[in-house]
């Protein structure tokens, strides 16, 4: 199987543990080169986060387990990229 290089996840998580902790826990995983978490909606108890993980060999199960262990729920996988080269989404005239 080709190595997973990028994952963009839509995650609903409680306010605590904070994204500062979550981002560091994800960054510590093997095969991960960098992580970005941005909040696009915030509620009284929970927040919606876009989690972008990039690396040379991401392990989805481990990433999922760290997110769940911290109370998060993955609502959708919005983007994935795998292989030797990181391919960006191509804009076509239809877009």
């Amino acid at each position: 199987m080709g190595n997973l290089r990028r994952l963009v996840l839509d995650v609903l998580k409680p306010l605590e543990p904070s994204i500062v902790e979550l981002v560091q826990l994800l960054a510590d995983l093997e095969g991960v080169d960098g992580v970005n978490i941005s909040i696009y909606e915030i509620d009284r108890r929970v927040e919606n986060a876009k989690v972008t993980v990039e690396g040379h060999d991401l392990r989805y199960k481990e990433i999922e387990s760290v997110i769940e262990e911290n109370g998060g729920a993955i609502h959708s996988i919005d983007e994935v990229a795998a292989g030797r080269v990181l391919i960006e989404d191509v804009i076509t005239p239809q877009d």
């Binding site: 609903l12 998580k13 409680p14 605590e16 543990p17 902790e21 560091q24 826990l25 510590d28 509620d43 108890r45 929970v46 769940e68 262990e69 911290n70 109370g71 998060g72 729920a73």
Partner: protein, 203 residues
């Protein structure tokens, strides 16, 4: 951030976990509140016991100690049970609400564990604080044979109670970041009022 094989590393990891759980469930803040409130209760109740013994003319230190220790044990059990039941109910409700919002079972996550740790810590603090505070006030009665005069032991017990109240007040002052002595004096006034009201019962 994986599990360490070294016992010291494992201990450090556990301490990190506890700190994280404390942050998630605001354990330190709640435990601090329970500690101050219940230690205060413990001291004032023991002032009542000492005053009751003095007014009733109890001259046997053993009797006063038994009454005092029995009361402090009851206060400890009451604190432990009461805090466990109320805190567990509140935390379960809170977790259930969060689970409902996030549509996730959080029992086996950090949040669930932090919640369970909070219940245990708060129950322990709530039980031990009045128990320990009461025993501190009773120290002059424990050493009554050395003092030789039960009246002096009673006076010393009341003095220890006031000093303990002052200490608790300073602790609250430290938390609020305000004047330590001011807070200490305010808590002492509660002790003086309890002693004064106790004297009203004198036959």
């Amino acid at each position: 951030m994986g599990e360490s094989e070294d016992p010291r590393g494992r201990f450090a990891q556990r301490m990190d976990d506890v700190r994280e759980y404390s942050r998630i469930a605001s354990i330190a803040e709640i435990a601090r509140r329970y500690f101050a409130m219940n230690a205060f209760d413990g001291v004032l109740t023991t002032i009542g016991i000492v005053m009751g013994n003095y007014i009733s003319g109890v001259s046997d230190a053993d009797v006063a100690i038994r009454i005092g220790v029995a009361t402090s044990i009851s206060m400890g059990v009451s604190g432990l049970w009461g805090a466990y039941l109320t805190e567990a109910a509140e935390r379960q409700r809170d977790l259930a609400e969060l689970e409902k919002i996030s549509l996730t079972n959080l029992g086996q996550t950090k949040i669930g564990r932090a919640s369970r740790l909070a219940v245990a810590v708060v129950a322990l603090v709530d039980g031990l604080a009045p128990f320990a505070a009461a025993l501190i006030v009773l120290i002059p009665l424990f050493v009554a044979p050395l003092i030789g005069n039960i009246l002096i032991s009673y006076v010393l017990s009341l003095a220890v109670a006031l000093v303990t109240l002052f200490g608790l007040g300073m602790f609250l002052g430290h938390i609020s970041g305000r004047n330590l002595v001011g807070y200490g004096l305010r808590t002492i006034v509660a002790g003086i009022v309890a002693i004064a009201l106790g004297f009203l019962l004198e036959p």
